[in-house]
């Protein structure tokens, strides 16, 4: 697959070389991080080093980081682990937040993808993601936190798509809980974290040996955690350079508008991640676009990867008021540091050919 163009980094990002190298080393080391002997202590050091690196990426204390098996587990733990009953979640959240509680109430999104703040005045637990996985829209978390804390509510933010893509200051934001995922920032699949502020009590979902200060039982996934830490450290160092991806993304969107003036680009009016573009052309079904691009060796998606087997239009776009017919045409392009201007040109060439075929069929009909 060396010729392939991978433009689906919000589904999973390529593993960073630094993470891979460290993981290979750690995989060859024996040791259960809870064992008291030398093998165990070495494994423990690996885990604690990673805890520091992950904490540093988001300006949290290492003691606030609870390692989990990934973002889904972190979100489920945050939503079900606190003692708060009334839960408000934004309508554009990832399914692992939306479905974590059956009693959660929805906060509406505006057409720009931003969450409405008014209902926060009587919340108990509020969950608003930092960046949306489909549109890249960044939520005004400082205002969410201010409104929720005014009401005495706890605030959780799913920062899985934001970490490593924008600077995050957990303390300055005043968040109570924040979810992270390793594989979305160049670490391995199988490691994530929930960052928990001081004074927030959590009832663990996984019970057993009492690891992670009794907040998450299970033998620590030392290699994946070490890889997550290494990826977090590199992501932190490269954070400034990451914003340059916006140039590639903006170039893509500018060319799309030239080729197809009717194109709708979602979340354009809101602040967005530098790497994400979500757009639709009416009548050009997302599924056939994805397949046509895949035949040309270009990987994009029609929405979130977990639900890409299904054909339902994106709940995120629906929450922004996009009609179902148009939402069913939405394509997500999510870039990574490996992408080049040539990748964008290949995408545009393939997409334009597909677009022109579609137009010919429409005019012939």
């Amino acid at each position: 697959m060396s010729q392939a163009v991978y433009l689906d980094c919000n589904a999973t990002a390529p593993l960073r070389q630094e993470a891979a190298a460290l993981m290979v080393q750690v995989l060859e080391e024996t040791g259960n991080a809870s064992s008291v002997h030398g093998f165990g202590r070495r494994a423990r050091q690996r885990v604690e080093r990673a805890r520091e690196e992950v904490a540093a990426l988001v300006a949290a204390e290492p003691g606030q980081v609870v390692f989990t098996s990934g973002g889904t587990e972190a979100n489920n733990l945050a939503l079900t682990g606190t003692d708060r009953s009334r839960t408000l979640v934004s309508a554009g959240e990832h399914p692992s937040v939306l479905r974590a509680r059956e009693d959660a109430e929805l906060l509406a999104l505006g057409s720009d993808g931003l969450v409405s703040l008014e209902p926060l005045s009587d919340a108990a637990l509020v969950s608003v993601q930092m960046a949306n996985n489909e549109t890249g829209v960044l939520q005004p978390l400082d205002r969410v936190v201010a409104a929720a804390h005014n009401a005495g509510a706890l605030v959780h933010s799913d920062a899985v798509q934001a970490a490593g893509k924008i600077p995050i200051d957990f303390k300055a934001l005043g968040l109570d809980l924040m979810s992270l995922s390793g594989h979305k920032l160049g670490g391995p699949q199988g490691a994530g974290a929930l960052v928990v502020a001081e004074g927030v009590t959590l009832s663990p979902a996984l019970r057993g040996g009492g690891q992670e200060r009794r907040r998450r039982a299970g033998t620590e996934n030392v290699a994946a955690i070490a890889g997550f830490g290494a990826a977090a450290a590199v992501a932190k160092a490269e954070l400034e350079g990451y914003q340059a991806l916006a140039k590639l993304r903006d170039r893509l969107e500018q060319r799309l508008r030239e080729i197809a003036p009717e194109v709708e680009i979602f979340g354009l009016e809101a602040p967005r991640l530098a790497n994400t573009s979500c757009f639709a052309v009416r009548g050009l079904a997302a599924e056939t676009q994805v397949m046509a691009l895949d035949l040309d060796g270009i990987a994009v998606s029609s929405g979130a990867a977990c639900s890409s087997g299904k054909v339902e239009p994106s709940h995120v776009l629906r929450a922004m008021g996009v009609e179902p017919e148009l939402a069913a045409c939405a394509l997500r392009v999510s870039l990574g540091r490996h992408n080049t201007p040539e990748d964008i040109e290949r995408l545009l060439a393939s997409w334009t050919a597909h677009y022109n075929r579609g137009r010919k069929q429409t005019s012939a009909a």
């Binding site: 697959m1 392939a4 991978y6 689906d8 589904a11 999973t12 593993l15 993470a19 891979a20 290979v24 995989l27 060859e28 080391e29 024996t30 040791g31 259960n32 809870s34 064992s35 008291v36 002997h37 030398g38 093998f39 165990g40 098996s69 990934g70 973002g71 889904t72 587990e73 489920n76 399914p95 692992s96 479905r99 974590a100 995922s181 594989h183 699949q189 199988g190 979902a205 996984l206 019970r207 057993g208 040996g209 009492g210 039982a217 299970g218 033998t219 996934n221 030392v222 955690i225 599924e287 994805v290 691009l293 895949d294 990987a299 998606s301 029609s302 990867a305 977990c306 639900s307 890409s308």
Partner: protein, 396 residues
Amino acid sequence: MNSIDPVTAKAASQATDGLIYLDYQATTPTDPRVVEAMMPFFTERFGNPASIQHATGQDAEQVVETARGEIAELIGAEPREVIFTSGATESNNLAIKGAARFHRANRPHIVTLTTEHKCVLESARRAEREGSELTILPVQPDGLVDLALLEETITERTAVVSIMAVNNEIGVIQPIEEIGSLCRAKGAYFHCDAAQAVGKVPLDVGEASIDLLSISGHKLYGPKGIGALYVRRRPRVRLQAMMDGGGQERGLRSGTLATPLCVGIGAACRIAKAEMAEEAARLERLRDRLLATLTARLEDVCVNGAMERRLPGNLNLSIEGIDAEALLASLPGLALSTGSACTSASVEPSYVLKALGLSNEAAGASLRIGLGRFTTEAEVDRAAEMLIAQVSRLRS
């Protein structure tokens, strides 16, 4: 990433400053062949297995399904009956709490043993706090379940019976086929925590009438952070999921699958299936050699738990008059433990040994020794000499 020379990698996994690792029940080294199988999926083949719309994702999906098949093959299951989890702790939590929550209205009762792993006991207690009725049965002095007592205990109101295949501290092998029959007769699910058994002793979910079976990657020379739960399809086992989200794994376990870890546990199962019989015979011989040396040269050493029904590489010994913690502290070159790794830092005597009827003193004089795939005869002999010398010194 070049492929790893198995010999070099094996040497690296062994070479922690010449230490002897005899703690294979805490965790096993990742087999170099497993590491090699995982390697491509850390780098160029990095897709999300749920991204089935494009080739990168399809590649990941295919290898994940191959791995699922390899796990299924080892335990006599169908591939689609295997759910990937983050490890045995999650598998055990999902099996017990998931079954208790789903069936609470009609079958509010759950049964387990005092000697189960902490994550089984904690999950069962959690279910009890949520409204289930919990029976925790004692074991016999040899660590085995009392089948007559178990038969009396299981009723038409029992949702799930959770009994491990092999104990993590004393290595005893429970009579799972008999347990399975008792459960089946009453329509209760048989959940078997087989983290210590899979890949080490023969196990077949059909023969043992197992409905739910927990597997750990890192206990069978695979990676940490991955495990599996076997969930029977016929008759269908119903569980309430713990993690909601994208609906992966038949809706029972949401979350992006870790492709390299899935590949790793699959490879570990494939290797175990091919080599289990030979490896078990070798470990049993080494284990018996170690025990013979120790008992020949040290007085008052006794084995905890049934010797004739035991994991080949496991020993659990009480050495009378010795403080096991102090003994281990004085032997920094030997990586052993006094019990479960999760509770290593605790000063409490092992609850497993207490359940066998050992006094606090005898439990505090006990060592868990775990031999495994990379243990050599020379290491076993050296460990025996180190233990004998130090025990003799402490006793004199």
